[in-house]
């Protein structure tokens, strides 16, 4: 028996020389959706959308329908089209409506191609469709895959995972938010770097690490920022590997695309750097990894843990259960643990951080401190009153 099925049926007809009418239906075990979309052929612009629900889940799902109008005016061939649909329709309306809208739009794109071929064929009767697309348009495949535009999440998560307590009399060392994203270096962030630094300073952090996605900050630029703000600003990098996101310190090589974790490990070893696996058990919207039957013991067997030096167990973007799960796994493996806000928005800066018992003033200090394994993650925003010197 099928556990789940989804059917999508899209039909496109040519209303006139310049207009396509698209009708899309999505029916799956959970949702029933329909859309009618009018699209211009010459510039593939969305002219009109009408959407409706046939079946839905929450009592508030109907609120999504008016928001679909925000996609009117989008052009299917413009750069970042699918990212815009995911970000605007998927986030502000409904991701299932976004999925159907993309299906409608890319079907329209194919239909527009057929329409253009038909028009050409009127002049050249022997022109086959195959010859038309191979000769005229080298890259006419439906642009279903583009660079993802991930939207910054404008919330923070609860923290109830086990935290190491603070002794107010202890020398507190250095507290650094090891995981944050700035705009425009990370397209998913909405915070300019100066604002990020200003906020980090104002809430009392000692320093921050800029860990933009697959982005190497120029040393001189960071030195200037450091001097301008009189604040500890260090360079890191959140690199996407085939085994998920890794926070990398001490490697200043520009790595684009997806690197295999084993290969990243070799690069980092050559550079004398350090790898922290970021949010290793980030889950789903409606269910979490625990519901899939994943136990900490089973999770410890994941090969990725052979290639990392530490585990991020306090991350501002995941649930308390997921942070707690990461902590159990790290403890089981005997790996050091860190915290970082993963801030993409102003309100998220410093949610979590890492406390080092030693002074960390520059990137060498950071690598040395990380390699000792002697530090602890902290829920900085909640605990900051207790740790004021």
């Amino acid at each position: 028996m099928h556990k789940y099925s989804r059917n999508k049926l899209i039909s496109v007809r040519r209303e006139d020389k310049n207009t396509l009418i698209v009708h899309g239906v999505l029916d799956d075990d959970i949702y029933g959706i329909e859309q009618n979309v009018r699209i211009s052929i010459p510039d593939l612009e969305v002219l009109e959308i009408n959407g409706k629900w046939n079946r839905w889940t929450t009592p508030e799902c109907p609120r999504a329908i008016p928001v679909l109008q925000e996609a009117v005016g989008f052009r299917i061939e413009e750069e970042g089209f699918s990212g815009k649909v995911h970000k605007i329709i998927g986030r502000k309306a409904c991701r299932h409506h976004a999925n159907l809208l993309l299906e409608c739009c890319y079907s329209a794109k194919e239909a527009a191609l057929i329409a253009k071929w038909e028009d050409k064929k009127a002049e050249n009767k022997g022109l086959t469709f195959k010859d038309f697309i191979n000769g005229e348009t080298k890259n006419t495949a439906p642009a279903l895959v583009e660079r993802p535009v991930s939207a910054g999440r404008d919330f923070v998560q609860r923290d109830e995972v086990k935290k190491k307590s603070f002794n107010k009399n202890e020398e507190r060392g250095t507290i650094i938010d090891l995981h944050m994203h700035s705009s425009p270096a990370s397209p998913c962030s909405s915070v300019p770097v100066d604002q990020l630094i200003y906020d980090a300073k104002s809430i009392g952090l000692d320093g921050i690490c800029l860990t933009d996605h697959n982005y190497v900050w120029d040393k001189d630029v960071v030195d200037e920022l450091r001097q301008k703000h009189e604040f500890i600003i260090l360079r890191g990098n959140e690199i996407t590997t085939n085994q998920g996101d890794m926070l990398v310190f001490g490697l200043y090589k520009d790595i684009q695309g997806i690197i295999r974790l084993e290969d990243l490990r070799k690069e980092v070893d050559k550079a004398g750097g350090f790898i922290i696996v970021a949010h290793p058990f980030r889950g789903f919207l409606v269910f979490n990894v625990g519901e899939l039957g994943l136990t900490p013991e089973k999770a410890m067997e994941r090969p990725l843990f052979k290639y990392v030096d530490a585990v991020e167990v306090l991350n501002g973007k995941v649930t308390e259960k997921e942070n707690s799960f990461a902590l159990k796994v790290a403890e089981g493996l005997g790996l050091p643990v860190t915290g970082g806000s993963d801030a993409h928005e102003v309100s998220e800066v410093g949610t979590y951080a890492t406390m080092f018992p030693v002074s960390v003033k520059d990137e060498n200090d950071l690598i040395n401190a990380l390699k000792t394994g002697n530090y602890s993650p902290i829920a900085f925003k909640k605990e900051r009153e207790k740790i004021k010197r």
Binding site: K92, R158, N288, E291
Partner: protein
């Protein structure tokens, strides 16, 4: 002719439980220009993709007819947040066939939605609209990641009425 279609697409994604630890998700596409199937095998509880198969029965695009073998590169990837970036990064550029890559994504979404369905089916059935609202309001309190993720959970919705982001963070 006014009412004759110029393009028709039919896409079906289904998820099948092979055994207690294995799922198979299949996406079949049949449209005016292409006929193809992609199938992924997923191991629980890690949701790790252990096998990928793709076949293009018909396409006027050479890049699609020759791309199915590249799909194997995603073997070992786990289905979860961030997977689309990884899948596109691993096969999006080498395979010129964007449609096949999209079919892999649809297979992965199918797996996630199969668990979403399970969670909803297992939940107590609300007897009226107020109970339904409470059920979903509790869901967003339990997982703040849902907050502002769609119109139903955006500010102004009754499901997040009185929801304090700071308190629930």
């Amino acid at each position: 002719m006014d009412n004759i279609l110029s393009f028709l697409r039919n896409r079906c994604t289904s998820v099948e439980e092979i055994d207690e630890h294995t799922l198979k998700s299949t996406c079949r596409l049949q449209d005016t220009l292409m006929d193809a199937v992609v199938e992924i095998t997923v191991r629980l509880p890690d949701l790790e993709i252990t096998d990928v198969k793709g076949e293009v029965y018909q396409s006027c695009r050479k890049e699609c007819r020759e791309s199915a073998d590249y799909l194997r590169k995603i073997t070992g990837v786990r289905i979860g947040p961030g997977m689309l970036k990884i899948i596109k990064g691993l096969i999006g550029e080498i395979s010129g066939c964007k449609q096949l890559v999209f079919m892999v994504e649809e297979c992965c979404h199918g797996v996630i939605l199969s668990f979403t369905k399970e969670s909803l089916v297992d939940a107590p059935r609300p007897r009226d609209i107020e109970e339904a609202k409470e059920f979903y309001a509790e869901m967003v309190r339990e997982n703040v990641r849902l907050y502002n993720r769609c119109a139903a959970f955006a500010p102004g919705s009754s499901l997040v009425e009185g929801f304090d982001l700071q308190e629930n963070s």
